[in-house]
Each structure stands twice: as C-alpha cells, then as structure tokens.
Symmetry: C2
C-alpha cells in the first residue's frame, strides 16, 4: 500500500505526532489507511514501552539493546495492531461481523477489538491453541470453532465459511490492511528512539505478515523523510519450522514444512504471506537464524530475569535468535538493536513453567525455610 508521502509531510510532522496526546497506535493516523471520519475502535492498542535493557545487553555482549514489549497491548499481543485496523475498516464498510483463523493471537485480538466495538466475531482456531488464548476468545463472546486439524486446514475452513456467509475477512495475507496496522510497531520504535531506526530489529516469524509490516513501517517513515536510514531485519524461525528463512538462505522458492515447535504463534509450516516476508528480509539486507525449543525456553527465562518482561515462546524467540547471532559474532557489539516481544507469556503458562525453575515448597516454618534457602 503506497501513500502520497508529500501529502503526509504536509499533513503532519514528527513534532506534531510526538505532541499529539494520543497514546495509542492512532497517533500515526496520517500513515494509516482510514478515512478522516472513520470511527476508531475503542481499545487502547499500541504505544507499548520500549525498554532499555542493560542487563540483558550485558548477557549478550551488546551495549545498546532495547526490548519492545508488545505483550502489553490490551489483549496482550502485537496482533492487536492489525485487529484494531481490521475492525476500523470493517465498521467503515458497514459490516457487523468479522472473522478469521489464527494460531491464537490474531484470533484473541480480533475477538477483543470486535467486542469493544460492538461487532460479532467468528473465530477458527486449530485445536492445539493454548488455553490462555482460547479462554480470551470465549470471554470476549466470540463464536469459536475449534478445528480438529492443523493450521492449514483451519485456515481453509475459515476461508470457505467467510466466503459463504459474507463476514468481514481478517485473515492474514488476504486482508491488505493488517500489515498497515502491524507497521505501527516500527513507527513507535523509531519515534521512541528519537526518530531514528536502530541498526537491527529482531523478531520471530510465522506467517510472515508481521516482519513484512515492520519493514513497511520503516520504509514509510524513510519515504516521508522522518528517518534517515533503514534497519537490518533479523528473521527468527523455529529450527524445524522455518520455510521463510530456508527460502532466503537457499535462494529457492519456499516449500511447506511441518508444524514442529512449542512456540505456537510461529508454528506455521505453510505461511500465508511468504513473498512479502522474504522480500522484506532481502531488501533490508537482513539476517536469518533458527532456534530450538530449548533455546526459546532459555530466552524466556533470561528476558524475564533481566528485564522483568514475561514473553510467550514466540515472543522470546526473537531474542533467542539474537542471542545465537551474538554468540556467532554476527552482531557488532556497539550496534543499536531492538528485539520485539510479540506476545505476553501469560497466554501460555504451560510453556512458561517449562522455562522456569521450580518453587521451594514447604510448610509455614522458619527453621525449614532456613534449611531450604540457597
């Protein structure tokens, strides 16, 4: 989606945005494809914190490291950005019902944004969706169809049903607006760094829509003259489910892989948006890296302990990949690096427990405590 960047420059400025007083993603409205009179959905999505994290940086050997905590969105994931834009566009077009299929976060964010805006929602999830995400959907009053199949089959069923019933379609790669919503995370990172891009941005990749959105955000800012350089993307996938990275690494067309990682949000063997993701990684002169489930769990624990941020597995995978690249000496020590935490660990406490140490369990007795303390 190309904008008239001369128009954007005349309609707004870095100063005007910074002083807008709107502490949601809608502070970037001139960069977003909504009409002047579009009613914005109610949830306060975006403007999540960008934390300088010196202790994590020290562990990685980086002197300028930030965590962008998108788990602090209303339904606790980055996907809220896309769903907010989808709900705005659905209401603009007069729909009263929205639908999507999702590994979890797109679904719960759409259900939440729809509930807040008074729209009905139909959500298709693969049966392996973690309890936290499923509970969110049901609490938000969505009609939830739990499909006894994998993500690809879930997606196909949702596509057929949306066509049949005429619902508004929020499926990634089908709906062109989602990437525009997701790009706001890049706009925020740049603004929070004083209107400049970092040298590297690390994030996990599943369908490919988020990394394509991040790239679009930086490119939009660059085209408007709001930043003077572009970052290099670090695309992190699971080692057994990495069709996008493999395509970048081999230079050959992407091929389906099986869904094999505990990080459910990136367990995508057949990505819906591979071309834009592959193009974004290449254009940015990006890096690819694959991580094991254990490396993801280790990153969850490290990020929690050093930053006070609890990431879901896919949310920590970006940092896991960054750790691996640092160990390989691929990232300069003084580079400015942002790692995006895409979702909150409360969505998947079962895997959180795998990442964490056990508590000390004892009766209320101080002498027993004394013996038990390390």
């Amino acid at each position: 989606m190309e904008y008239d960047y001369d128009y954007i420059r005349s309609a707004t400025s870095r100063e005007a945005i910074s002083q807008s007083g709107d502490y949601t993603m809608w502070r970037y409205r001139p960069f977003l494809p909504v009409e002047q009179d579009t009613a914005l959905p109610p949830l306060a999505v975006g403007w999540t914190p960008l934390y300088s994290v010196p202790r994590l940086g020290e562990a990685l050997g980086l002197s300028h490291l930030w965590i962008k905590d998108d788990g602090q969105n209303p339904t606790a994931s980055l996907k809220d950005r896309a769903s907010a834009l989808a709900v705005a566009k659905a209401a603009e077009a007069g729909y009263d019902t929205v639908a999507c299929s999702s590994t979890g976060n797109a679904a719960s964010s759409l259900a939440g944004s729809a509930a807040a805006a008074g729209l009905k929602s139909y959500i298709f999830v693969p049966e392996r969706a973690p309890m936290g995400k499923l509970t969110q959907l049901l609490i938000f009053g969505a009609t939830v169809i739990s499909v006894q199949g994998n993500y690809e089959q879930t997606f196909a069923l949702s596509r057929d049903a949306i066509e049949k019933y005429g619902w508004y379609n929020r499926n990634a790669a089908i709906n062109p607006y989602l990437m525009e919503g997701k790009k706001t995370v890049a706009l925020e990172i740049a603004e929070q760094l004083g209107w400049q891009a970092p040298d590297y941005v690390a994030l996990s990749v599943g369908d490919g829509c988020t990394i394509a959105g991040v790239w679009k955000g930086f490119r939009d800012l660059y085209a408007a003259g709001f930043i003077s350089k572009l970052p290099r993307l670090i695309s992190v996938q699971a080692e057994k489910t990495c069709p996008i990275n493999r395509a970048v690494e081999t230079g050959r067309p992407w091929e389906p892989m099986e869904e094999n990682t505990l990080a459910d949000s990136i367990a995508v063997g057949v990505p819906r948006n591979p071309d834009k993701a592959i193009a974004a990684i290449r254009e940015s002169d990006g890096l690819t890296v694959e991580v094991s489930d254990q490396e993801i769990l280790d990153a969850m624990a490290l990020v929690g302990r050093t930053c006070g941020v609890f990431a879901e597995p896919a949310g920590a995978a970006g940092t896991a990949g960054l750790i691996k690249l640092c160990k390989m000496g691929k990232i300069p020590k003084d580079a400015a690096v942002v790692s995006i935490v895409t979702g909150n660990g409360l969505k998947d406490t079962a895997n959180g427990m795998k990442a964490a140490e056990e508590p000390i369990r004892l009766p209320p007795d101080i002498t027993l405590l004394e013996k038990a303390l390390p």
Copy 2:
C-alpha cells in the same frame, strides 16, 4: 502520609501534569513520596486506559459508566503501582533484595519490578496461587517459597523471614508507601475524566490496601484543589469472605472469616489493612456489597463480551457488585460511575474457562460447520 499541598500547588499544576509527556504513574511524581534524585524503576507502570463502556452501561442501566483497565499494567495488575513505588524506595535506601507475601498479584508485580531494576526478590505465596501468577514469579527469577498453608500463615512466615534476613519489606499494611503507589489509579481516573472525580468508584476489596489507596488519591487531589468533589466508594467483597464490609455494615470491629471465594486476590479472611479501608469507606459515605462466585463469573463474561476486557475474578468482582447495586436500585441511572478492573484474566484462565461458553469442536468440514452454527 500527609503532603504539603501548598507546595504541590506551587510545584505543579493540572496542565503541567497533562503535558508532562510521561505516560506512566510517575507523571504524578510531585504527589509521590520519592526524593528528587530517586532513580525510578524501569517498568512502564500506570496510565492504563479508562474506557467509556456504553454497552455495559446499557446492561446495567447506567448512562455514564467507565472501566479502568488496570490489567493492562506490565505484570497485568494494579499491584504494579505499589511495587514500582516499593522498588524505588528500596533502591533509594540502598537495599539489593526485596520480599513480600501475597495471594499472587503483589508478588508477581514485585518480582517483575525487581527484575527490571536489577534487585533480588524473595516471594512467599500460599500454595493455592493460580498457575499464571506463579509462572510469572518464577520467570522473573524470584526465589519463590510456596507455603503449604493459608494466606495468614504465609504472611506470618514472610514477616519472620524478612526480619531475620533484613530484606526490604513490601508487605501490605507494613510498608507505608504501597498505598501511595496505589493511589495513582485514582489520580489517573480523575485526570482522564478531565480533572474531576466520578460520583462512584467500584472495586473489589481483599487486604483493604487498594481501596484505602484509591481514597487517598482522591483526597490528595481534593486537598491540592485539583478536583472539587470526592466520589463515593463501592466496596465489593465475596459473600463468604467479607470481614471489612461486615464491619462497616454492623458498626462493630472486624472479625476474621475463612478464605472462601474463587477470586484468589480477595480471598483474605484476615485483612492486613482493615482500619484504613473501613475508614475510607465510611468517610466517602460509601456503599458495601457482597457477591457470590457465580455473580463474579457472570460479570467476567459480561465485561468481556461488552467491553473487550478480560478481567481476573477479583478484577470483575467490582463490576459484579455494581451490577447487584444497580439491580437493587441503589445507583442513580445518570451517575458517573467508574469500575476498576484490578487484574488481567490471563492470570487465571482456569476460572476464565468456568465463566465462558464452550467452543464448537469439529473436523475441518464446511457441511459440519453449517449444522453446528447457531
């Protein structure tokens, strides 16, 4: 804690705060007991959304209803406000270790704030703490002592250990600063309403520290001349665990009760801060109301469906009480009412599932879907 309100008036103003550009609770620093040079803890606590919720209002017969969603804090509860202040004070005083006992949220918030600030934490929880909260603690790298006993016994063990080991004490009712942190939710509500208090503020009550903090916040603003009236508090407790409400209702001293509600955050039979809570309710000409577990679950579902906000049981209990008072005709239809959601439902998905409908489960087949849709 009394301030020099003339000094506050000379040091800041409503306009200065509103234009501060600080979108955390620290925008109210002149109202907070920290030194000029105190280093503030890193997590972005506070400035949570105040949502106008017309569909929930309609269900309750109220024309001016807001939800303050404090589940959107970094560790997903209002307790982050108290823990941020505790960590600031601990660091100010040169401690490197903090400790507390808690039914869950105070603990996870302290562990998160401490991890972000580079402090060690020792946390005492009763063994019934929900999985979400326990996982947070462990991920944040706290040393967790899971006590095989109730909250009262857990509290006693933590008190003895803190005395023995000389850790910084973040226990409610012991630490005078916690209430000062919690009061920032009231400061935000008033500012977000255009510097006025609503007619009523509803919230759930356990230890009593939060409702006392809310009252302190409004009183501070009133004393400084920033608001021109005070709200009436609505104190909501569980019907079988309501020692504070019972004392207010009977006019007699409070008496211990058993811990008997699924809302773990307010399952407090022996409150640590009853006197300040009782005084706050009385001074505000407040209302008390008790709710059943089923009423709490129903409120969780209603708030989710109409507002897109997922509250933990204690987080929805305030709204459950408000619903009950509205049904009894105790709240004028045109009153301005704020209901505080004190914590995110992702912390306790087991109870979330009890509140929600079941999903439709089926294989990926559109003809089966057609038959299954309502």
